[in-house]
Each structure stands twice: as structure tokens, then as C-alpha cells.
Symmetry: C2
Subunit: 208 residues, 2 copies
């Protein structure tokens, strides 16, 4: 079964939209409702569902609760996901304190930093020296790291943590990293996101 | 001329890769070099360039300096871009202190928050009450806002700042907002990015 990143991102969005529909008291929905809520066509919703063997019935649509269970299981949300943050600078520290992850069943188990002055074992999310990462991820069963180190350090740190057993990296450093074998890297590039927005606002302003 | 978000994101990546090539001493490059650095095919590079009327010569490739000037002009990077951050929580405060934007010619002119206890006019990036935003963006010529408010407040705040003259919003709240007319919203959803990574790592682990 081949699934693209975009397809899985849509599954997350369906799930979030379904929770909002459920909070409003709905128990059933049609692919059209979900399509509107997520901003795609109903055909895309049905196609995504068919990839995962999810089928509704034409008359009654889909049951929200059943579908949420299924989506949560596909997305691995039926169990707590523990991740670590590497780099305790401004962005890394903010992510360690960010409440949004916990709501999604994602727990930041620890932060790591190369700089000994950043180490703080007694903070709510303990910040540990990078050399302890191997033992930590082994004993806590962690496979995912969020990388918020300066760009000049990013590739070296990816190589270190990947050799320590990290399988997936969410990279905030504004450059393209080489993926070590057996390690997936997704990028969040805040500079490029802003640049992109600036471009389209400028185009819109010029054509007014 | 129709350009997609992905095309403009690639332009940003070409620009960043060209700066790295330039730092290594290169003055010319071929579409293949750039394709490798950005992770697309050479045909995509040439197609993107042709959309903007950029042509190289078959023999000598492209001049890095000339192309950087052109890309910077297309992306609006030939002048300082001022933005504001709405919401001075953990993520918002980290973005106000984040050095990466300045390197890209993006200046965070001010932060805004509804909570009076967050207001701090004397911090390096002043944090002002939200009701001052209209006057501020008018006097500073600002059109772009980064939105880091709690999800329950996000739509209301978007409506307020859009009515105040904001034309583009980079939204960190984990839900889909309705775009007011004449306002572009791009989303950075950290929860979904992590969820996505967790999914693909789980798939990789299962198929091992």
C-alpha cells in the first residue's frame, strides 16, 4: 500500500474535523461534510478512505465514533507517543512547554543539548546532555526527535541521533539534511513559510 | 501567470541552495546541481525558471549572482519585510526572539496580545495590546502577521487583524481558519507534522 505524506496529512485533518463535529453533537456525517471542513473535494475524502479500507453506507454516511477509532489506530494515536527535542534554544524550549502536543497524545519525554549550561534535570521536561540520548531513547522506547539546533550543527546532530536509534526527525533547521539510512526527515521551515506568504501577498497587492 | 505554493517554496529552496553554493566558491551552476541540492529533477528546475522567464545557456549554465538577484526580487527579498506576531505565549515569544528570520531579511516589528499582563513596550520586540494593531500596521506598512494564539481564539483574532489591514497570516493554531476576503492564510500545524512523522516511522518499523 502506497501512501503519500499529503494523504496522511489529510487523515490527520479528517480526524481533527471529526472531533469538532463530535463536539457539536453530530454522530454521523457524509463525505461532503468532511470535505468542506478540510477544504478538499468529497471524491478525495472517499478515495483516501478507500485506501485504508474504510467504507460508509450511501444512506447513512459514516459513524463518527467508528471512524475516529479507525483513524486513531492508523495514525498510531491509540497509544501515547513519546518524542525528544534536540536543542534547547528559543524554539526548542517553546516546544518543550507547548501544551498542544499533549492534547494529541504526544509527550515530550526530554530535551537534549550539547551545551552543558542548558542541562537541567529538574525542569518539567528534563534537559539532558546529548551524550545521554542513546541510553535514554533505549530505556524509553523513543524513535522520534524534534530537531531545533542551529543550521551549522544540524547534519552532525542528525547523524549522531540516527546512530543512537532515532528513526524520524522533525527538522526546524532551515536547510535540507541528508537522511541517514533508516531515518525519515520531515522539515518545518519557518523562514520559507513566511517568504511564501510574503510572495503571495505581494502578488495579490500588485494585481488589485 | 499561475504559480502554486509549491513552486514558490521551491524558489525559496533554490535561493537557499544557491547561497550555499556561492559560499563554497561557485559562480556558475547547471540545473542538475540545483536539482540535486533541492531534491527535485532538473526538469522541474528548468520548468520553474521558465515560469519566471529565467533562462540559462546550455554551455555555461546559470550565473549564481544574476540568478540570486532575480530570485530575491521575485520573492520580495530585495527589501526588508516587516511582520507582527499575534499571541505572546511560548511559541509566539520564541518566534519573537528567533534569529533565523533576520538573516532572511524578515523583521518582527512587534508582538501583540489580548492579555494586558503580556504587554511589554520596552522588550527588544515590543509587545503591545491587540487594540493598537490597526494604528501600528498602518504607520509601519505591515501586511503580514504570524498567529500563535490558542485555537479557540484564532478565528476571532484573524477576523480582527484582517479588518485592521493584515493581508497574510501564518497560522500556528491547529485548526483550519476561514480566510476573510483579501487575506491569505498559510498554516503551520506542528501536531500534524509530528503525527505524520510518527505514522511513517511506524510503517517503516512494521515492514522491517
Amino acid at each position: 500500500m502506497i501512501t503519500t505524506k499529503n494523504c496522511i496529512i489529510r487523515l490527520s485533518r479528517y480526524k481533527n474535523a471529526l472531533y469538532r463535529l463530535q463536539a457539536l453533537g453530530f454522530v454521523k456525517f457524509f463525505s461532503d461534510n468532511l470535505a468542506d471542513a478540510v477544504g478538499v473535494t468529497a471524491a478525495v475524502v472517499r478515495k483516501d478512505f478507500s485506501v485504508f479500507g474504510i467504507s460508509g453506507n450511501k444512506k447513512g454516511g459514516y459513524q463518527i465514533e467508528t471512524l475516529l477509532e479507525k483513524l486513531n489506530s492508523i495514525l498510531g494515536k491509540d497509544r501515547l507517543q513519546k518524542v525528544v527535542v534536540i536543542g534547547a534554544g528559543h524554539i526548542g524550549s517553546a516546544l518543550m512547554r507547548y501544551r498542544g502536543f499533549e492534547k494529541e497524545g504526544i509527550k515530550i519525554a526530554a530535551g537534549f543539548d550539547i551545551d552543558p549550561s542548558k542541562v537541567n534535570r529538574s525542569s518539567p521536561v528534563p534537559i539532558l546532555p546529548l551524550e545521554e540520548i542513546k541510553g535514554f531513547i533505549k530505556s524509553h522506547g523513543i524513535k522520534i526527535a524534534v530537531l531545533t539546533v542551529p543550521d551549522i550543527a544540524a547534519q552532525e546532530v542528525v547523524d549522531i541521533i540516527s546512530a543512537s536509534g532515532i528513526k524520524g526527525v522533525l527538522n526546524f533547521a532551515p536547510l535540507r539534511l541528508k537522511s541517514p539510512e533508516g531515518c525519515i526527515i520531515n522539515n518545518v521551515n519557518l523562514e520559507i513559510e513566511l517568504e511564501n506568504l510574503i510572495y503571495f501577498v505581494n502578488v495579490m497587492e500588485k494585481t488589485k
